[in-house]
Amino acid sequence: MSALSTSARSRWGRLSDAARRWIDSDLARDFRSSPVALFALVVVSLYVLAASFPSLVAPHPVFDLSTLDFADAFRPPAWLEGGSWRFVLGADDQGRDVLSAIIYGLRVSLFVSVAAVALSVAIGVSLGLIAGFYGGWIDSLIMRVADVQLTFPAMLVAVLFDGLLRSAFGEQAHQRHAISIIIVAIALSGWVQYARTVRGSTLVVSRHNYVLAARMMGQPTGFILFRHILPNVATPVFVIATIQLAVAIILEATLSFVGLGVPPTQPSLGTLIRVGNGYLLSGEWWLAMFPGFALLFLVLAVNLLGDFLRDALNPSLK
């Protein structure tokens, strides 16, 4: 009992230590002096919270078909003629609450883009480390591939990979794996940036004495790469990843919007906008506009954070 409480206390102690270190850090001080960045951080946190616990935040369980009532279909936002406060942002063609659909859609959008950026970082950082550490033909090979890919815009690369994976899997399997496929497509369109940056810094760092010492001690190469070199080249990766997160969110929404992304059974923000786009000309604008603005504010906040982190952590990337 007492052992349990001591370990619990020490865990809290460690947590509060970490919190205190964070509050005293340069980054936190920079945050406090920049109201815009602080605001962006709050907005992004709210988005992440809503996406993490949609059932607590969303007013309606949108995937429970029994709660839908066709009498509510196309109900306008609450402040308009015929609106109701049960559907603050209106209802869609099936009487589904638009606000709740946005919150659940946000979950899909954020999951896909965060996963894609994580995969992209993993690919790019590993290839960058390998290219920078080994040099020689493997370096040339990786960097030539990166050069070729860099001549194509990310959007085209993602669409192309999506199309390739689609025809490789066949239509049936594609439906089932749609989410994984879009994550891979976005990840493959974005790895080059990390690879280039990491390769450059790895070239420098791997000449340092402590790396040479580690090699002489006979430590395994993988250990040297990830424990000795990676921590010293990671800061710009962190900055690029934040900026790329905004790009990934836009890419996911765009792919879903043009019908290549996530299936309508798990609508993301882009899917919602795509569906709503069909009702734009007939006057039911709230179906597309609210998810659109939710998306715009999310990307804007992530971009603001990315700009801030870039200035605070690594002014040379400016």
Binding site: D147, M155, A253, T254, V258, G292, L296, V299
Partner: protein, 328 residues
């Protein structure tokens, strides 16, 4: 200079070769082209016959050479979806996309460069701050949503502009159709071109601003001021002129990315260009069109990159000098 150019040309050819290999592998291994042509109900005998006719029974390297040779002759095969020669399908769509891209880029330059210069000269002015904030919105704005906003405002609410299509087009020569010579064509291109230019305006503006601020700090600009040259001449002739090299690169590269963005814009506005074709082909897994598209886009990109490099040399004599004299 000649060494440099031939090196660049060599790289370009290498990229094209790699891309055509990719296109060939796509064509050959993603789905069976024979089955796609004959249909699922064909007999094994028919398939073997066609496979022999198409030369698909030979060794792979030979097939690749065949593929490249027929590609060089402009023969990309038949579209699975449309049943027409791929080259003709592509050629019909090129003018629409090119006009969209060029008009969009023109708008972006006309707004982006002055805005960048202004915000660099008056960094603390209210208008500058507003412009900077707007540029962040521009970078964050998904282009399809921009298009929908424009449609909602100018087509649905105000009813001023058409929400889809190219309007009336005029035929120039045998291949090119243009929408720029009719009133309805001009009205139709306005919203798609603005949609495509929003991101570019923000990009160009931020770039010009950053370069301009840098240039204003340099010695030759300060000396020019000290010589008593009028502010306008210093700002434009000395500072702006030196920002143009990176701007030209980015504009060159962005012209390519505009064609990428066109996929989305063309979908929103049902613009009958390459982007729409590309999406329809991806959705229908129309591999011959996709592989031809891949080669075509690669060709456009490496050409743009190559021309951009040439322009560099034309704009900035230092590159020429260092290349000849071997200073760098």
């Amino acid at each position: 200079m000649i060494v440099y150019l031939s090196q660049r040309l060599g790289q370009t050819v290498l990229v094209l070769a790699a891309v055509s290999l990719l296109a060939f592998l796509m064509f050959r291994f993603l789905g069976d082209p024979v089955v796609a042509i004959l249909g699922a109900n064909s007999t094994g005998l028919q398939r073997d016959e066609l496979r022999r006719q198409m030369g698909l029974d030979g060794p792979l390297p030979l097939q690749f050479i065949d593929y490249v040779v027929s590609m060089l002759r402009g023969d990309f095969g038949l579209s699975y979806r449309l049943g027409q020669p791929v080259l003709r399908v592509l050629a019909e769509r090129v003018p629409a996309t090119m006009e969209l891209a060029l008009v969009g880029m023109a708008i972006a330059l006309c707004i982006g460069i002055p805005a960048g210069v202004y915000t660099a000269l008056r960094p603390d002015g209210l208008l500058s701050r507003l412009t900077m904030a707007a540029s962040l919105v521009g970078i964050s704005m998904p282009s399809f949503f921009m298009g929908m906003l424009l449609i909602f405002i100018f087509s649905v609410t105000l009813g001023w502009l058409p929400s889809f299509g190219r309007g009336e087009t005029v035929r120039l020569g045998s291949l090119w159709t243009t929408g720029l010579l009719t009133i309805s064509g001009l009205k139709a291109i306005l919203m798609p071109a603005i949609t495509i230019s929003v991101f570019q305006i923000a990009m160009i503006m931020r770039l010009v601003r950053a370069q301009m601020i840098e240039a204003l700090r340099t010695d030759f600009v300060r000396f020019a001021r000290a010589r008593g040259l009028p502010g306008r001449a210093v700002n434009l002739r000395h500072a702006l002129a030196n920002t143009l090299v990176p701007v030209v690169t980015v504009v060159g590269l962005q012209l390519g990315s505009i064609i990428g963005f066109a996929v989305v814009t063309e979908t929103v506005f049902q613009w009958p260009g390459l982007g729409l074709l590309f999406l329809q082909s991806v959705a229908a897994a129309d591999i011959p069109v996709l592989s031809a598209f891949l080669v075509f886009i690669a060709l456009v990109f490496v050409t743009i990159n190559f021309l951009t490099d040439l322009l560099y040399v034309a704009i900035d004599p230092r590159i020429r000098l260092s290349d000849k004299g071997g200073i760098a």
